[in-house]
Symmetry: D2
């Protein structure tokens, strides 16, 4: 079912038919934060069989979902930020990040293309602290409880002429971070998940895979440093939404799963032939929605990696 493109592990997991539920090598756990509309799913891929079935590398994929941010209460937003921050800390400590370790946040994507701008927008709002130690001294950093945070928004290949992995390898060789946190826009399968979902994973990222470009992966193998990837679904592929509408219509008509699949494959083929593969579906208020989720995410990253907790 190729037409339903998604970068969210939880959506891939959902797409398996009922009788595959006992899928070997893939463990799914779900959790609610009571009375807040916040929902957490953890997909763990434990072996190669699971990795093959899911089309994703082994590791943990944590998905935090909330209501639409635009209408969220302040208290619930605060809990959302804390929840995301907690999972970031969890994955970071699993990767052996020490309290005084250097974290480099990489905001992927094109700041001039709204649905792809979530990474640069997050970087714009981080509290950068790495340079303060040398500028103002150790005691300054202590007084303000500063950790060591650096960040860059390197731009996309069309803007730089360079692969992101090329730029990052160079920077890593110079400044030697202990952990890299990569932030990127993703494609989701369901429009309900746009701009209110965050996926955190310890497997790194394949930039641009969310919207059709396969660049070289960013992970421990390519960069030599553990990579935690934070992804935000901001678009749905146009072919996916066609499937969505069709499913609703067809299910009422009583078509079988097999018939549906054949039909989708046929659309996908016809679409490839006509070259219409770069259309995306977004909500009308996308500019605002992307800014809202970038605000939440930068708050969470600041909480995790810019400051020590008050004690």
């Amino acid at each position: 079912m190729q037409t339903k493109r998604t970068d969210l592990a939880v959506e891939i997991r959902e797409s398996f038919p009922e009788d595959d539920v006992e899928l070997k090598g893939v463990i799914l756990k779900e959790k609610q934060v009571k009375d807040t509309g916040i929902h957490i799913s953890t997909v763990q891929i434990t072996n190669q069989r699971g990795a093959k079935a899911m089309g994703k590398p082994k590791g943990h994929y944590i998905t935090v979902e909330s209501e639409e941010l635009e209408y969220m209460k302040k208290e619930h937003r605060e809990i959302l930020v804390q929840t995301i921050s907690r999972y970031l800390n969890l994955l970071a400590s699993r990767e052996q990040l020490k309290e005084n370790g250097v974290v480099l946040v990489v905001g992927l994507g094109n700041r001039e293309a709204t649905p792809d701008s979530v990474g640069p927008r997050v970087v714009d709002q981080l509290v950068i602290t790495r340079h303060l130690r040398s500028e103002y001294g150790e005691s300054f950093s202590k007084e303000y409880s500063l950790k060591t945070l650096a960040a860059i928004a390197p731009g996309v290949t069309g803007q730089t002429g360079m692969e992101v992995v090329e730029i990052l390898k160079g920077i890593v060789s110079q400044m030697k971070p202990d952990l890299i946190v990569v932030v990127d826009a993703l494609a989701a399968r369901s429009v309900e998940r746009l701009n209110r979902t965050i996926q955190i994973t310890d497997t790194g990222i394949c930039p641009g895979s969310g919207v059709g470009n396969h660049r070289k992966a960013l992970n421990k193998e390519t960069l030599g440093v553990p990579v935690v990837a934070v992804g935000v679904p901001t678009v749905v592929d146009a072919a996916t939404i066609v499937s969505d509408y069709l499913e609703e219509a067809f299910l009422e008509e009583g078509l079988s799963q097999k018939e549906l699949k054949d039909f989708f494959d046929q659309i996908w083929e016809s679409r490839k032939k006509s070259g219409k593969t770069d259309l995306i579906v977004t909500p009308k208020n996308m500019d605002e929605a992307v800014q809202n989720i970038a605000d939440v995410l930068s708050d969470a990253i600041n909480d995790s990696f810019a400051f020590f907790e008050d004690s």
Copy 2:
């Protein structure tokens, strides 16, 4: 066939079955500018029968289409600007605009929502001249061949709390323009038309109709001044693209027009039930594409209404 939402008269005309070609009250003419990729369609609705069939008021609807602006040659872009400018002048003179008449350009839409920002972006790039006469004197205006151009981007109701028609009535009562040119983003039926098509009409406009909100019309009846409307398709409704894909798939399967229509209606109903009516389809490079078409359109309006032709 409600699901195929479009604000372009030429697309409504195209959607009629072959045997309706002799449609009474609707005249269609087509023209190419040789070797430039520029195509001009004129739909004239001459009587009430045509107006009812088309779902549009009587009047002229001129559609100028080009290749993708991103890849257009400089010379062709220049011809495109001149073509649009010529049709603007044509409709303006039909509305009795004199050489020294005052033109007010109104850029509708929300500058904070990229696909809806084409109106404000055009206004930002106009050469405003109305105030120069009083500031620098008649001879200054003569020396630089200045006409009398004013403009405003009033914002959308969600930003102002006011209907656009309310704001414009007030401004018109004060500054008494001889012609209003309204610029707005439209919805198209076909993704091929996005960001490379301009519709010019002497019938005024119904702001927001392109994306689902019916506000009060802006035309000679409501404003007391002739209104030329310039529309730029920047989005396709998500339901429309579903129909597009389906048509391709179904036609290969040999379904009849009637069966197709029933199927679309069914999708539309299911979609309304689930509340998913505010999704739009755009190209990935929308930010850039919207700016390119706004550049062309502001050049054309400046040529028509800011300056007298060099002689």
Copy 3:
């Protein structure tokens, strides 16, 4: 001492020599909000003699100053917002604004020129409610404790070809607000006041007077509705800063006030001759500083005019 241009009543008051302290017709009161760095000055001009001495119309001029917003604690920022909101409510109720009255906020200035963009930025962040009553009904407005707020950022004359007073007269005639709140950037005399000072007055405003353009006034006489003006100093005139530096240097040299004044007048003349009158002085981080003060001000206006207080 023309060279020291300021739009702040409190700075004009400060500039009078010591022995004028008993200035008839001008009452100055000062107040601190304890332990917050917030300082409030109220200048009241009670008669024509005071108006002439100050070069400002009769009325109240409230100036709220704080520390640099960039480094302000959250709690202090909250108190600052409440303080501004309280004075807005105070002046509004003096102008007989009823609880259910309609307030129109006008964001003056050019959103494309950073130091002049504070008005449009404030408007962008208001919670606009006027249209919700008709869209969702009275009970909706009640449930969410909504007052009736509308807003517009009309642009500057160079962008519209129209005087602001012309645009506003038209809008007022249509939507009939009970109170207008005008927000504009000002010029200050002291760089210490930039982007951390707000002046609120019940005398209306003379747009552009802060940076050299005298347009028609916006006040009860011209608009027929009470006008509360909120001004934010974002620039210092270049001539003013020259005076500042000189004063420091000269005072150490022991020059008299008279000698200083003569010297300033001479600089001013030489400057006018050379045509250098459109230079401004700003802090390097102006973009950020202007956004910070716009955030504070929009929060305060929302508290005052978008929502009823929780009870």
Copy 4:
């Protein structure tokens, strides 16, 4: 005369008293492009004596000045672009850049701070070609006469936590450019030079030196690759403008150069004491002026390094 901060070699040269004209080790040549308002000055520092006198490293400093871009004729603007492009090519070929060499443009500065954003704005408008060869093949690059251009806008230390030299060393080690072109905002001494002057030099650059921060130099020694630096004066230091006004006033009073110098030094000291060292002077229309010069400069760089000349 410390108070007159400038990054322009030509301004330093101008500041020497008349009787130093035969300054050893500094050669000044001047040239006009007839009837265009374009003026070119070349300062060549040939030995250590000249370097010490000028406070600048040995090398060539070419300054291209024009009228205000806002009012420049199209033909003159085109000649300006060609002039800058020609000098870029000249310095590049002196640095042994071959026709098929890889050029990396680095846009220094903070895109969120208007006067410091000229570097990132230039990068945004370059025609990036380095990746096209591998994506579309050699024949594609040949057909469109493409050279090999890459670019990055790395951000400032406050945004990244890293020194620019640190980031660039890493990138250079990975992508191995043959020439680096660094674009940065400068401080000028004279307000007349703002946003209409471009300095091109083969000596590299000291980022931030224009506005008070001394970071590590970017030149052949630190990066291992020849560095051509392009600088655009966008601000005048506030202390400098004080000197400017004073000079006019004092000269009329008949003060000697020595007396003037003493006075300036005194102002500078008093200013340092009061901590007012981060104020800048700009024209009111800075946002527009900075964009105009960035447009010119990106056109010139594209002409030099993105495309082979048509033949």
